[in-house]
């Protein structure tokens, strides 16, 4: 015997009896609608609205008839409802901001903690120069440069390479 699936739809007290094909069509429509609306904050509500409309139309289609709904019934109703067009997709209108240059510690190029490599990448100086300046600075400031280095090692975010 053909399998009958009994479903309810949002806002409708009545139950609808569908065969497997009909149920498959309906489930696919709602799945697809759900995935097109995935970025919509009102996704659940819109899906409810759609279910309600589908229910309205199925009820009108059946009238007093309590028959089993087949794929053709679902197709005709979904044709009236139409595929979901996502409203304005927030992801699509997002503007891509130019990447701001930031100061990082660079793990991939580190001698100690990557601070000098990060400063070099940021300032576009040769890393050997930056290291030399840091060492000389430490010597001339009686160790203060080392403190700065340690502080930066704690403060700066880490990145693996200079591109990241």
């Amino acid at each position: 015997m053909e399998k009958t699936i009994i479903i309810g739809l949002a806002g409708h007290a009545e139950r609808y009896r569908l065969n497997e094909d009909a149920y498959g069509r309906l489930a696919r429509y709602l799945d697809e609608a759900g995935s097109r609306l995935r970025n919509d904050p009102d996704r659940a509500e819109i899906l409810d609205d759609l279910e309600r409309s589908i229910g309205d139309r199925l009820t009108a289609l059946l009238g007093a008839d309590e028959r089993l709904l087949v794929a053709a019934d679902i197709d005709s109703v979904l044709e009236q409802i139409g595929a979901v067009e996502a409203g304005r997709d927030p992801a699509a209108t997002e503007t891509v901001l130019p990447r701001r240059r930031r100061l990082y510690r660079i793990r991939g190029e580190q001698k100690v903690a990557g601070v000098c490599a990060g400063l070099a990448a940021y300032s576009e100086l040769n890393v050997a120069w930056v290291r030399t300046l840091f060492v000389l600075g430490t010597v001339f400031t009686a160790g203060f440069g080392a403190l700065v280095y340690i502080a930066l090692a704690f403060i700066l975010p880490v990145t693996a390479t200079r591109e990241a």
């Binding site: 609608a33 919509d40 009102d42 819109i46 759609l50 979901v84 067009e85 409203g87």
Partner: protein, 106 residues
């Protein structure tokens, strides 16, 4: 005439036509669809619900649930103040635009 060139314009206009329809008082979705069905802007629920939802997020309209004589309760839509202001601004712009087109084509 190649109507595909008009498609973006039509898509943008739909929102204002909906503001226009909703401005006439409390309406529910089937009424909006019915009013549009007699025009060049025939629309289906699949398009209308996401659009109404977005317009509500933007504060242009709002709805309330109301019992209906037949079937389940319905959402009745109405314009917010911001929606009415948008519609007024649009009408004004539209008038300017049609004037402009007439003027330029002379």
């Amino acid at each position: 005439m190649d109507t595909s060139k008009l498609a973006p314009l039509r898509n943008g206009l739909l929102e204002f036509l909906i503001l226009d329809i909703v401005s006439s008082g409390d309406v529910y979705v089937a009424e909006i669809l019915g009013r549009l069905a007699t025009t060049d802007f025939t629309t289906r629920e699949g398009t209308l619900y996401p659009l109404l939802s977005r317009m509500r997020q933007e504060g242009l309209l709002d709805y309330e649930w109301r019992e209906s004589t037949a079937g389940p309760p319905r959402k009745y839509y109405r314009l917010t103040r911001s929606g009415r202001e948008h519609l007024a601004a649009f009408r004004e712009y539209w008038a300017t635009l049609t004037n402009l087109i007439d003027e330029l084509g002379r």
